[in-house]
């Protein structure tokens, strides 16, 4: 994979919606941050991640549009894999696989 392509994957995720849906169903941790705003969704995400094992999938449900830019950045800085975001109007489901 080229450097640019890898970068785009890190930032935007690379999974198709149906795959993300499947991954969401099997998430080890589900964080409901609906109605909360920056930095609360991030704080809840980092708290949940502390109790999880490498390779597990974390699902964040939020309606703060900014999580779509902040979660990929958080993943890049910590070495987690940002899998992608499913959008249902204002409701976002963001998927992250924790680094091993």
């Amino acid at each position: 994979m080229g450097e640019r392509e890898e970068f785009r994957r890190q930032v935007h995720g690379s999974r198709a919606a149906d795959e993300l849906d499947r991954l969401a169903d099997g998430a080890a941790e589900r964080i409901d941050a609906l109605g909360t705003f920056c930095p609360e969704p991030l704080i809840r995400t980092q708290e949940a991640a502390r109790g999880m094992s490498g390779g597990q999938i974390l699902l964040l449900i939020a309606d703060d549009a900014g999580v779509e830019v902040d979660i990929p950045a958080w993943c890049m800085s910590h070495g987690h894999e940002y899998l992608g975001t499913l959008r249902e109007e204002r409701r976002l489901r963001v998927l992250v696989r924790l680094r091993s």
Partner: protein, 348 residues
């Protein structure tokens, strides 16, 4: 046997200086964890709550996280809202700056938290992006000494951008950090930092000196002073959040109203209705007005008249305004306030 890595905690706002400091310390072989303190007074948080987008049509981002992504430095968000308000904002030992910004107490508070984390988690030292002489309140030599000392970090606080102008710290004396590779920046100009950013290949950083904190802002400070004058220290983080939006009018010693300026402010105010009264015009596009305190009948009528003034029906001779105060609710037909001479003395 592999040598134990040197580990440092860096205070990261995501601005240019803290980003440069983190990059510099990391480039000297130190393992860095960035700490981003969430005080509840961040300007970007308000944009996020209002659902605003920036001039590139993107949601406002958390700059510290983006700096961390750029540098591949992990960032931890540290939520200090609950303690920050009573311990720093309401009663600062070293006073306020031009607004209600207790910059010295703020630095002490954050660095003391960083010191606790340093000890608990086995980090070797703490660093910041402070530049000597850059800010009038907290970045002069005497307050920088005070901050270091009161935070309990004497010798363990590295300011890599100005290090060559300051006493050598333990990390420099112990050889954990090569002092010769640190800088001697001072003063208000950001040019040296911008040149360094270019050298480091850092291109995506917020405009220098943009500021992310509401407390130095004169409009915010005026509303906060008013609140403290009327409520003393009986305030909470929700009160602080409400100072960030709307038109504020004081109708009585314990009665204040906040009038939404547009739909997204109305949505924002809606979240804070619990424990507060409200008024709005049903027949026209209308602000949501939050009512704080226990208004008299005259004060409630005035709240309704001000609400009507900012509705789309302001030119009408009279308008029905819905109101509620806890379990009590009703509708009152009022004349929208027309006279600025009545309104302006009430505006906070």
């Amino acid at each position: 046997m592999a040598q134990e890595p040197i580990r440092a905690l860096g205070l990261m706002s995501g601005g240019l200086d803290s980003t440069l400091a983190a990059h510099l310390v990391q480039s000297l072989g130190v393992e860095v964890l960035g700490l981003h303190f969430s005080t509840g007074f961040c300007v970007a948080d308000r944009h996020r709550l209002l659902g605003n987008f920036n001039n590139r049509d993107k949601p406002y981002r958390n700059d510290a996280l983006h700096a961390g992504a750029q540098l591949e430095v992990p960032i931890e968000i540290v939520d200090i809202k609950e303690d920050y308000l009573p311990e720093v904002v309401l009663d600062p030992k070293y006073g306020y700056g031009q607004g209600m910004n207790p910059c010295i107490d703020c630095r002490i508070f954050m660095l003391a938290r960083a010191r606790e984390m340093m000890r608990e988690r086995g980090f070797h030292f703490v660093f910041t992006g402070e530049v000597l002489g850059q800010r009038p309140m907290s970045q002069r030599r005497p307050p920088m000494h005070t901050i270091e000392s009161e935070a309990g970090l004497v010798g363990y606080l590295l300011r890599p951008l100005s290090a060559q102008l300051l006493e050598p710290t333990v990390p420099e004396r112990e050889g954990w950090i090569d002092r010769d590779r640190l800088f001697g920046f001072s003063g208000r100009s950001r040019k040296p930092q911008m040149e360094l950013a270019e050298r480091f290949g850092l291109v995506d950083y917020p405009q220098p000196a943009g500021g992310c904190c509401f407390l130095p802002d004169e409009n915010y400070a005026r509303k906060l002073r008013d609140l403290l004058a009327h409520r003393g220290t009986e305030v909470d983080p929700d009160d602080m959040m409400l100072l960030k939006v709307g038109r504020h009018f004081r109708l009585g010693d314990d009665v204040k109203i906040i009038v939404g300026r547009h739909e997204s402010e109305n949505d924002y105010l809606e979240r804070f209705r619990e424990g507060r009264g409200a008024a709005w015009v049903e027949d026209f596009s209308s602000p949501l007005t939050l009512i704080e305190g226990r208004p008299s009948a005259d004060e409630l009528e005035l709240a309704c008249r001000i609400t009507a003034r900012y509705s789309a029906g302001r030119a009408e001779a009279s308008l029905p305004v819905r109101w509620n105060m806890g379990p009590r609710e009703g509708q009152l037909r009022v004349e929208p306030v027309q006279e600025d001479s009545l309104l302006e003395p009430l505006r906070i």
